[in-house]
Amino acid sequence: MSGKGSREARREERLRAEGESEQGERRKRLLQIGSAAAFLVVAVVLVLIVISANKTSGGDTNLEDVGLVAKQLKGIPQNGLVLGESSAKVTLYEFGDLKCPVCKGFSEEIVPNVIDSKVRDGEAKIEFKNFTIIDEESTPAGAAAIAAGAQGHGWSFIELFYRNQGSETASYVTDEFLTEIARGAGVPDIARWDKDRKSPKTVAEVESTTQEAEKLGFTGTPSFAVEGPGSNGLETLGTPGSSGALEEAIDAAS
């Protein structure tokens, strides 16, 4: 009896030890899998951040400066391609091409000062008019801006386009690129925007303002004109080299 009982006790003890060892092994294996997964996720996140940080603003679809543009235009009415209060007495016209690098420079360095000093307080409004001179992609870009303007986001579109502009000679104005710009600009109804930008009426408007610029004698972009109670009708300004020159023209037209 005692010999048999002792054998069974030893057997149970052995089985229990084997069970615990098996459980320990399984636990170790699962923890190793968990650690590997954690390592993998950390690596993927780091790679994503590095890729994202190295993206340039050259026409790619990961937009730059969405927040900056939103901040710059915040609180200023947008109607069509007009920025500013509709009641503003002076209108500054900018004839530009969205693919033009000089226009991008104006958009980043000169126009913001005019917006802050003259448009934000309701003294003047700025109307953007397409003057397509770069290449065949300039027209769909301009039409897309007009379509965004129809939903109150024209200037957001223009400013965001400039900040994500690609090389002048590159072909980057794809449907995808324009859609990303429209989304980034906050255009609420993308389907309607897409239909509007492709309509013959919108394309004709781009061609019409280009002809208007040519009739005014402009040969390059951006070119400016001003009109107000103090001006002699529509006065052409050419391409002033500073925001101060534009501000003086607005003051003179007031």
């Binding site: 636990r27 699962l30 923890l31 951040i49 939103a70 989304r183």
Partner: protein, 143 residues
């Protein structure tokens, strides 16, 4: 200090995951109408983030993926056993990693902060901590 009981971890995770479903659902519904979530403190950050190109993945609002993640985490917290522990940890790990990436994007690429995204990131971080403790403390042990 001993780890909390698995039951406590599961109960807290259930509550947090349910809250996460609510937050992600609100963001998804606000976006589906062509709008954006409303930042309670104002400032326009929510609108800027919602309008950014990063708010959609493969054409789908990332909040929809968030709802899926929180539902899986809720299920994992309601179930017992190693499979639930491992799935809970795995999903929370991926969710936490993606939250870190999105927070980076908000701070350095979009340059705007959305309170609802921050709320979701905090909830996902909490779920990651709970599920990590649950896995390290209890995986391989009887349910």
């Amino acid at each position: 200090m001993s780890a909390p009981s698995e039951g406590t971890l599961r109960r807290v995770a259930t509550f947090v995951a349910a809250f996460g479903i609510g937050v992600a659902t609100y963001i998804a519904i606000a976006d589906s109408g062509g709008g954006s979530p409303v930042c309670i403190a104002g400032g326009g950050g929510c609108e800027t983030v919602a309008n950014s190109t990063y708010s959609h993945l493969l054409g789908v609002n990332i909040a929809v993926f968030g709802i899926g993640g929180y539902v899986l985490l809720l299920a994992a917290s309601l179930l017992r056993g190693d499979a639930a522990r491992m799935v809970g940890f795995g999903v929370a790990l991926v969710g936490f990693g993606y939250s870190v990436y999105l927070t980076y994007l908000e701070l350095f690429k979009i340059e705007a902060i959305c309170q609802w995204c921050v709320a979701s990131a905090v909830l996902m971080t909490t779920l990651f901590a709970l599920n990590a403790i649950r896995m390290v403390g209890y995986v391989g042990k009887p349910a």
